[in-house]
Amino acid sequence: MIPERLVNAILFAGLIAVPLCALVADEPFTITLVTRAVILAIAAVGLNIALGIGGLVSLGHAVFFGLGGYAMGVLAFHAQTYTPLNLGPLTIAGTKSMPLIWLAATAISAFVAWIIGLLSLRTSGVYFIMITLAFGQMFFYFAISWSTYGGEDGLSIYVRNGFPGLNTLIPIQFFGLSFIILSVVLFLNARLQASPFGLALNAARQVPARVETVGLNPMRLKLVAFVVSGAITGLAGALFADLNRFVSPTMFSWQLSGELIVLIIIGGVGRLFGPVIGACLFVTLEHWLGGLTDFWHVFLGLILLAIVLFARGGIMGLLTGKEGTHV
């Protein structure tokens, strides 16, 4: 068995080393692939806060991924068409600046997470799963029917948005940016998990009755976790859209919500680097199996079944011998 810290360190080093090697070998596509893994990892780290610590099985986290994506898409669309964005009483200009887009993406995702959380946390268990799934579908259909921003066809952004001092169109620079965000998010997650809030949230997942009888409100703890979680996944959505320079309703799809959970379970539920392992493995499988057969999802399904039935701790569990948290 390998200590968890060592696994984390190796993973972290690998995420830096692979794109650098690819840079030397002049394989920009590999860099883009790793960037994709990094961004998916950010989204899954966000979900892991709600799911792994808070025990909230959200099957609608694509809502926040999509909102982040559309926050980027809409702002950049108005910037590239030189049209103002009309928000009822407020009219704002579009922007191609990443920091501003990220701010908008996290803010709108956090706000929507708060609303969805308020509604769906009135229930628990299976109801919660079904309701979050349903809200995801609501946004999916809304995006399809909203033709101003491309409807079903989605929205293309011609030039990747900018970050002061960087040329984001160069793959390694955009990778670096994404990687730094992942690192920051992981750091925040680690702090949060060890903080008084994290301790209380962790207990609220396991024994809500106890949390109540020490005078804390488990629902409110979970709501805050859901908002933080949604905001992070929203940020990842903005990056993902920027990676592809394209947003479409599929970013809201239930498959994506499912895949985000899959990333976590493959890596290890509730483990800090679980989502990172999961995302790396997922992108590798997608690329490698997807190159071998058009039907690689069959194999993904079989792997997933095997993990659920026989290896509950995911890859992290297999490597470190530690079980994941129980959700």
Binding site: A203, V207, A209, T213, V214, G215
Partner: protein, 249 residues
Amino acid sequence: MSDPILATHNLRKAFGALTATDDISIDLNEGEIHAIIGPNGAGKSTLIAQICGGLRPDSGSVHLLGRDVTSDSTQARAQAGLGRTFQISALAMEDTVLENAILGSLGASGRPWRFWQAALGDRTLRERAEAALERVGLSDLRDTRCGSLSHGQRRQLEVAVALTLEPKAFVMDEPMAGLGAEGSKLLTGFLDQLRTEAPILLVEHDMDAVLALADRISVLVYGKVIATGTVDEIRSSPEVRSAYLGEDA
């Protein structure tokens, strides 16, 4: 005599045709242990749930420190000074003993919205938790995962978590359940001293413990309190003898 710390007035709760608690009025005074006994299905759990906030009574009221808390939530009652232990240990089994105790001190601090500093590094939280663990004799196990504690140790931790709240009144749901003779004896000694800090409403099946500890006993049968009094009064009460032993009153 001063006002009771905890009191119920005419609590009534029915589930369909079954009246689980019927017009129950009991009180708990400074410095006493008031035991509630009664056969299974007498309504003890329903009574506790109404006192602690899990169930809303159909009618009647619950008073804590003279204040009506009937419509308050569980957590509001806890903040107001009600400390509770569960019949089946409600502990975060994946967490360590210390973390469970810190959860209690976190509740007592009323400030869970801190996202940055490590909980284990917070001196105030930690000292409070360690002190409670010390008192129940679990200090040496502070870094043990709760899931690997013995049954008796979990019972001790239950009490420790309630202690961190420094409550004004305890409600303990069968704290002796599943403890061996030795464990019961230790806990009995501990509760005996605890009553001077805060009175205890003790629901318990272990009659040795009840007889050793209780200042007063209330007997609950079919949702009604059929008798309240000192140990001797209860022993000689014809109603109790009739209900428990089937003797004619």
